[in-house]
Amino acid sequence: MAAPPRRPLLILLAGLFVVASLATLAEAIYEDQVGLADWHQKYIGKVKKAVYHSQKSGRRRVVVLTEENVISSLDLRSGDIFWRHVIDKNDPLDQLSLSLGKYVLTLSSGGTILRAWNLPDGQMIWETNLQTSTASNPQLHVMSNNKVAKDNLVLVSAGRWIYAVSSIDGSISWEKEFSLDGLEIKQVLQSPENGIVYAVGIAGSSKLALYHLSAKTGEVLKDIQESLPGELSGEIVLGSDNVLVALNKARSSLFLIEFNSGRISYNKVHVSDLVQDLSETFKLQSLSNGVIALRTPSTVSLLELKDTDGLEVVQRFDQPAALSDALTIAEKDEAFAVVQHVGSQIEFIVKFTSDASGKIIREKVNIDQHRGNVEKVFLNSYIRTDKSHGFRALVVMEDHSLLLIQQGEVVWSREDGLASIVDVTTSELPVEKDGVSVADVEHNLFEWLKGHMLKLKGTLMLANADEVAAIQALRLKSSEKNKMTRDHNGFRKLLIVLTKAGKVIALHTGDGRIIWSNLLPSLRASRFGVMPSALRIYQWQVPHHSVMRENPSVLVVGKSGAESSAPGVFSILDSYSGEELNAMKLDHSVVQIIPLTLKDLSEQRLHLIVDSNSNAHLYPKSPDALDVFLHEMPNLYFYSVDILTNVIRGYSLQKSCDTEGDEYCFRTKELWSIIFPSDSERIAISETRKMNEVVHTQAKTIGDHDVMYKYLSKNIVFVATVSPKAAGDIGSALPEEASLVVYLIDAVTGRILHRVTHHGAQGPVHAVLSENWVVYHYFNLRAHRFEMAVIEIYDQSRADNKDVMKLILGKHNLSAPITSYARPEVVVKSQSYFFTHSVKAMAVTQTAKGITSKQLLIGTISDQVLALDKRYLDPRRSANPTQQEKEEGIIPLTDSLPIIPQSFVTHSHQVEALRGIVSIPAKLESTTLVFTYGVDLFYTQLAPSRTYDSLTDEFSYALLLITIAVLVAAIIVTWIWSEKKELRDKWR
């Protein structure tokens, strides 16, 4: 009788337990804690197009389009972002224009998507999809003062198509597909007489076509075609109103093509006649009014058209320079700007196209730090109080930073290189020097007490609004966290980031300010147009013992060209000052970089660089490094995951390569290979454990005091393959065709430790490998949901180490070194769960000793970072855990992973275009530092198991002091009382 009513009670209790366990897992911060330990910085990336608001609108703003696919409106006074949209990488933005003074038009995806955004607030007004063959160079032309239709038309040309779109609602007014084969429209012009549009295109290699179209209907009024002698390169610019300048394929001569009504005439001019010693690649730029520019990476020549008879060099700039487009000034004249680099300054020159040899403005502007050459200039004019024209310009520098120049000064600058971070490493700050003056301490003590009294007031709810604000301000800009010295908890560090532009920037973790930056000369574009690329950044020297006095340094590895055989570039920088200590041009290419765990006598870390000939090169090239390396060499291996050929190969290292007498070069010998069947599997990703990961223990204790030994190998590689049919987007394959195979491979021996197939699953796959487990994320086609799976690997060969006496006496093999050649007996436990979000990046928290429980950091599609406790991804979860398992903290199994809104570590922020998450251990075991980068940067501190080893910032020391004081006072008072009472008793 008693049993049935108990069941609901049990369920209720179990439910309460679950709720309680969730409550402890959900770790969030309070509203007033935002910004205490975290910071968020917004960037836009390297600007490639900019349009200014018209003068009349009264707002001083500029709309820019960047290489990070961002469209943004900036304040011209301060450079702040008014609004910003980050468009997906699959939809690259090509063109930007303003229409009607209130819309921003963008053309993207090779001329297929036209969007209009509201200028003041950035809301999207309309979007039109245009059916064109995606063209490499689509054009956008906004018709000016068009009297034909009521609404302004926007002409979009891409390939053989021209569309006229109404800029009010985005409806297509007309479309025209030209029948000429292979036609690509290069220019769309508005004729001086209203209602006619010229379209100039190139068909094939040498045929020029000119169409006269009615602006109202799109009907072809006239169609002229002309074959030019010699092939064209496709580069064609407008010289003046009716003259086109085209470059031939050999890039040796220019065609000057004049098109008057109904007739095309041309003239050929050799480039070498105009500009001597033009060996480099050059580009043409139109400046209108008969002036064109010829740009090479290091020079700019201004050429003036003499009708079609020829060209004349007006001026030549021998410094690397940038040119702006022509800007129409009120009096029908056009101005343009040339900005060139002169020493440490830049020279800003404004000219009129009518008088290209003269100049209106010539100003020298000091730039505060080294930013490289000027890459782009966007000129804007304003009317001064005395009605004359003033000029300002946005300048894009080589390091992707954006400056506004006005009246010979840099008004503001934005460090937008930080939007394209390639790699991140960290460095400790200098140790605090001794000898702090007493006055300083006293002052600090007073401040400290004052701050704590304020805080106490806040805790006791005695503070008024002003004081609350003061408390908040005090907490936000606590000078403690921004100091330039090492702190006891290890929260203050330098985040050293390498950007795509080859600039290394050190950010302070306290507030994200830039401590130093260095545009590496070895990673700058050379005069020959070769674009080096920055690859990775590593810690090079982390001084500990003998070389404590030296500063730590970082290693930047780059490549001096785009192709894989391009020689590598090394650069070693001082972590404290950013000074380049050493720069090397390697005589071999860089295909793989293997940081080793070894160090030489000066504590420089050993790195192996594998080149394209599969030779390994040891750095640093010092004899003692070689000694250390040779001693360990028989135990060093490397593997290469070749996605193109679907093969994983493992190699051992052998002494000296046969080609040269270089003793720091090592031959590699292939030991094993795993060849995946390319008709059914294709490698999607490969993942390994982080090199710096610290694991506290090899044993995992389970509820009944039993032990499971983790299989902890640093050489374990996770590889996921997808079926080739399902390699595309989700939905491109049927569930029957798709499968995902997951391998766990030992990279030393090539042994496959575990293999599991997920039928009906496909990528994109994201994985994170840590300790003895791997968590991966994929799409389940049958369930139409994303899934996350976990695999935990345990070592069965150690499982019989269960005799307590033997363990007490130390008679066990648990601390014996492990070799991969001993056949491992692994036991694998796995489980999978549904997960709501698609994932952009995944990482796991790292702590100093590896004791704190782990959290997965998941960069979601909404550009936020979710901290998910590893306990949710435990293969030992079951629907009805036993009492013992509950005590152990095993959460009852559910089919999907919970997403608790409070566990978003980015709280209200979004890290636009999130690309990477880095977790850096602090000195305090409970805490880890998380840095997230994309177009934006976000940094915060996380404590996965709460701050169990320190008092929080919230802790009220004043309350503690007061409590102690009150207690002491109470003790004294009661003692006095008791003394008196006793005396009274004695007299009685």
């Binding site: 360990e632 135990n635 995951v641 902890l712 070799t819």
Partner: protein, 177 residues
């Protein structure tokens, strides 16, 4: 206080002389009272009293020796009530269960002091007492073990064992493009 009291009493007179020997024969015995009868009975009575006292002492000693048994039962009940999860109550119970026998064992001699008698055999009760206390202590230890506070499992010895060193090291991955 003591001093004050001492000062307050300078002198004292003992009015009653308790010794029977000083009872003067000048005062005749009341009629019907024969002094000889108890006197004659005295030796036998004293022996008898001594015997009964010895028996009583032995009995008491056994009782005292068995006392921990009750304690043991109570402790067992308390432990059962406390459950096997580690919290304040169960830890308190367990440690008192461990402390009581230890303190009792330390004072074995003192406990059996009153029953010290050449004719009373206190060895056996003492042994029982010790045994019972040891049993109580065993119970406490057992409880400690059920609470998981004793390092009797392999997990207690390997939970902080650092991972073994790996001989080989392999680096690499997907080549940089």
């Amino acid at each position: 206080m003591e001093k004050g009291k001492g000062l307050a009493r300078r002198w004292a007179v003992e009015l009653h002389d308790a010794s029977s020997s000083s009872a003067s024969p000048a005062v005749p015995d009341p009629p019907g009272f024969t002094r000889s009868a108890p006197d004659a009975d005295d030796a036998a009575g004293a022996r008898q009293r001594k015997d009964s006292e010895t028996a009583w002492k032995a009995q008491k000693a056994w009782e005292v020796a068995q006392a921990p048994f009750k304690n043991l039962m109570m402790m067992g009940f308390m432990m059962w009530m406390a459950g096997s999860t580690v919290h304040l109550f169960s830890i308190g119970i367990t440690f008192s269960a461990l402390w009581q026998p230890i303190s009792a064992l330390r004072s074995v001699g003192k406990v059996f002091e009153p029953f010290k008698d050449p004719r009373v055999d206190t060895i056996a009760p003492k042994l029982l007492f010790i045994a019972l206390n040891l049993a109580a202590m065993g119970l406490g230890v057992w409880k400690l073990n059920t609470l998981g506070l004793l390092p009797t499992n392999p997990s207690d010895w390997v939970s902080s064992l650092a991972p073994a060193r790996e001989v080989e090291y392999a680096g690499g991955g997907i080549p940089l493009i």
